[in-house]
């Protein structure tokens, strides 16, 4: 057992931290979020050149072959900077699904492009009726000769507008909530029959509603075994949970620390707010919540990395705890900033909103408490 970062991991952390402090002040982030693209292609190329995009990709496909701990470090650091580029979608969800279930051909075709920054992807797995339940799939994929034909609607697909390819879940068998019968397909975004409705999201990102009308893909578009998509999705979502949890940990660190700074400066009743015992204790509790989330994030990441039997339980416990901690840290950061906490002018509002959406991603705290307790 060894909890210290390797030299490479320390370098990774430093490199992101340097990028964030030089490029990602609040105004720059707002400009990116409000730009037409919603992020910076220049940054994306920087990420590629710094090797971040190659991090989780196997060496055989032009990657660095980093493990889940490396990804954790990446996302914790991105969380501190509130970075808007579509790394989660491309690296963890799209790239993750390919790594887990792709054929040699599929990997060769797409993974090197992810690593060098030339390919972006997104995961279209949710539908409107059951926005927390990725097994509720009505979108259908019917085999017609040498093709699968997809029909249906996918909801809140993050970063779909910037994606070159989508991975789409569709039902090839069974009833709407059957675990079996879901299959995954790699679909180029410009395939005829795909219509997107793009919109901004409250946390400064982009997402889309996607309608699929007789979208025809070749048999080779199938990702993994037919009807077995749920288990692949589950693995991908586990990785997604680890990534956004690390991101939340980074965001919580910024929030509790900047609330300390603010309350030390802001005076009320002739004393800095931080002189009030109730404020001190609240800050202490925020520090504790942050630390517990960070601990469990580290543990769950290492267990899933190792593939131990209790990794899945830890992932559920983690998503629950991160939801609980984020709520406490975020709400109290706003509360202790008083009126200023309500404005878009301070960074804390933006961290707060990102934490709010992280809770909603991949099932919120309630859902994972239920799963954890079985």
């Amino acid at each position: 057992m060894d909890l210290a970062y390797t030299t490479e991991q320390n370098m990774l952390e430093e490199s992101i931290s340097k990028f964030v402090s030089s490029e990602y002040d609040l105004d720059s982030r707002k400009q990116l979020a409000n730009s037409e693209l919603g992020y910076s292609d220049e940054h994306w190329q920087t990420f590629a050149s710094l090797g971040w995009l190659a991090l989780p990709i196997e060496e055989a496909y032009g990657g660095i072959g980093g493990d889940l701990v490396d990804t954790m470090i990446l996302f914790e650091s991105l969380g501190k900077g509130l970075v808007v580029e579509p790394i989660l979608s491309t690296l963890v969800l799209f790239g993750g699904a390919l790594s887990i279930a792709g054929t040699e051909d599929q990997k060769q075709a797409l993974l090197p492009g992810i690593a060098d920054g030339s390919v972006k992807g997104a995961l279209a797995y949710l539908e409107a009726e059951a926005p927390s339940d990725f097994n509720a799939v009505t979108t259908s994929a019917v085999r017609e000769g040498d093709a699968y034909v997809l029909n249906g609607h996918k909801s809140v697909v993050f970063n779909a507008a910037s994606a070159d390819h989508l991975i789409v879940s569709a039902r090839t068998e069974g009833d709407v909530r059957d675990l079996a019968g879901i299959s995954l397909f790699i679909v180029p975004s410009d395939t005829p029959g795909i219509t997107r409705k793009d919109y901004p999201t409250v946390d400064g990102l982009r997402a889309s509603e996607i309608a699929l009308e007789s979208v025809s893909v070749p048999l080779s578009a199938l990702l993994g075994q037919p009807h077995e998509g749920a288990s692949i999705l589950n693995q991908v979502i586990n990785r997604g949970i680890l990534a956004v949890s690390a991101e939340a940990v980074g965001a919580m660190e910024v929030l509790y620390k900047s609330t300390i700074d603010y309350t030390k400066q802001r005076e009320q009743f002739d004393h800095p707010l931080a002189d009030f015992q109730v404020v001190k204790h609240r800050l202490t509790e925020m520090f504790i919540e942050y630390n517990l989330a960070k601990s469990l994030c580290m543990k769950a990441t290492m267990l899933l990395n190792q593939g131990t039997a209790d990794a899945q339980r830890h992932v559920h416990a983690l998503k629950f705890l991160v939801g609980k901690s984020s709520r406490f840290v975020g709400q109290n950061a706003v509360q202790l900033h008083g009126g200023m906490g309500m404005t878009e002018d301070l960074a804390i509002a933006h961290y707060f909103k990102r934490l709010m959406i992280i809770d909603a991603l991949f099932g919120n705290a309630n859902i994972h408490l239920e799963a954890f307790t079985g």
Binding site: A128, K197, Y199, V202, D203, V278, I367, E370
Partner: protein, 384 residues
């Protein structure tokens, strides 16, 4: 002690229900025909100003009638009046204003033709309001004040015709002294309003810059230097109004209905124990809080003061409002994310995010919860 309504009360309840049935505009008309609704309320004998005293045209409800009135209006989500004029300034004018001021301002407040905003908070004076710095200097001839300073968090200043404003006329003595209550027209060239965009992305609060604004002494309410005393009473008033308990009762029912629309596993979100119990805990507390308000009303009815338990209402009421917005947010799931004019997902999802974000203010504005607890500890529990 008896919770049952008397025959008279039941008849009153029926009258209110019938009135709402017959007069409440529905659908979009709720927005376009607000004026008629308030007029109908006025015609019913002061129902447009249910809390005003009889002498100023209020309906003189008994506490039980007041409870029934709020309950039925709350149930049907009838449109509220903006609180600044009717609820906040009017009581001060009634108590401390001159006859002339009442004649000038009360009619416009009542019929909604004149919008008011509240100029209290300043960058250095939030929960610690007495720290305010906006200066008002009396001219040598005693005819007017010259006002300079900055207000912040001024709700709806951008649509207001007038602002009632706390200003500093003296810096001698205790901070609470030397504060004067002025009425300022927003179209004065020295008044500049700058929007503040808040968490929910919406524009409802503002910064207001006051530069050499000339306010005639006739627009001073009460005596110079007594503004703090007047405002303090108003604050207490504002706070009890902020509890919003009847609206929370309705809000909770809606949140439950929303959750029923969201599928989870084989059932809906309200079948999910972790969510259901959160709802249950909230509901139990709300039942208790609702009756705490009733106890307060009953005390006042029997001629007493509102009693120590009334101090709970704002503190706990705003906390409950926030928790209800959180239930809706959770029910929206990932559809909490879409942002902008267009709505996606379940019908309630779009508003859910805005309410949740905007709702963070309820425990900050009007005296932050932490300050409320200080106040209860001091004034109610005698802890200095």
């Amino acid at each position: 002690m008896d919770i049952a309504f008397s025959e008279e009360d039941l008849a009153f309840q029926q009258r209110v229900r019938t009135f709402i049935d017959q007069n409440l505009p529905t659908g979009m008309a709720l927005w376009t025909k607000r004026g008629e609704w308030f007029k109908a309320l006025a015609n019913e004998g002061g129902w447009d100003v249910p809390k005003w005293p009889k002498e100023f045209g209020g309906p003189d409800f008994t506490p039980t009638q007041r409870y029934i009135f709020d309950l039925e209006m709350g149930k049907q989500s009838t449109p509220p009046q903006l609180p600044f004029g009717v609820g906040m300034l009017a009581p001060i004018l009634m108590n401390y204003g001159s006859e002339d001021q009442r004649d000038r301002f009360l009619p416009g407040i009542r019929d909604g033709s004149v919008n008011w905003c509240q100029g209290y908070s300043e960058p250095g004076a939030g929960s610690d309001l007495a720290n305010l710095k906006t200066r008002a200097e009396l001219s040598d001839d005693g005819s007017h004040y010259l006002v300079n300073g900055q207000k912040i968090w001024t709700t709806l200043a951008h649509i207001a015709h007038w602002m009632f404003c706390l200003t500093r006329t003296s810096s001698e003595g205790a901070k609470q002294e030397g504060i004067t209550f002025l009425l300022i027209p927003m179209d004065d060239p020295g008044v500049e309003v700058r929007p503040i965009i808040t968490l929910g992305g919406s524009h409802s609060v503002n910064e207001v810059y006051l530069t050499d604004v000339k306010v005639p002494v006739e627009n001073r309410v009460g005596e110079e230097g007594k503004g703090w005393t007047y405002a303090k009473g108003l604050l207490a008033h504002e706070r009890s109004g902020l509890a919003g308990i009847q609206s929370s009762v309705m809000g909770l029912e809606k949140a439950k209905a929303n959750a029923r629309k969201v599928k989870v596993g084989q059932g809906n979100l309200l079948d999910l124990a972790s969510f259901k119990h959160k709802v249950g805990i909230l509901e139990a507390e709300l039942l208790a809080l609702e009756f705490t308000e009733m106890r307060t009303l009953a005390r006042v009815a029997s001629g007493g003061d509102p009693g120590p338990e009334s101090s709970i209402l704002k503190l706990k009421g705003t906390e409950i409002q926030q928790r209800i917005t959180e239930l809706n947010l959770e029910a929206a799931g990932i559809f909490a994310a879409p942002w902008g004019a267009e709505a996606f997902g379940p019908d309630f999802a779009h508003g859910a995010t805005q309410s949740y974000l905007g709702g963070r203010a309820t425990t900050i504005y009007g005296g932050a919860s932490e300050v409320q607890k200080d106040v209860i500890a001091k004034n109610v529990l005698g802890l200095s």
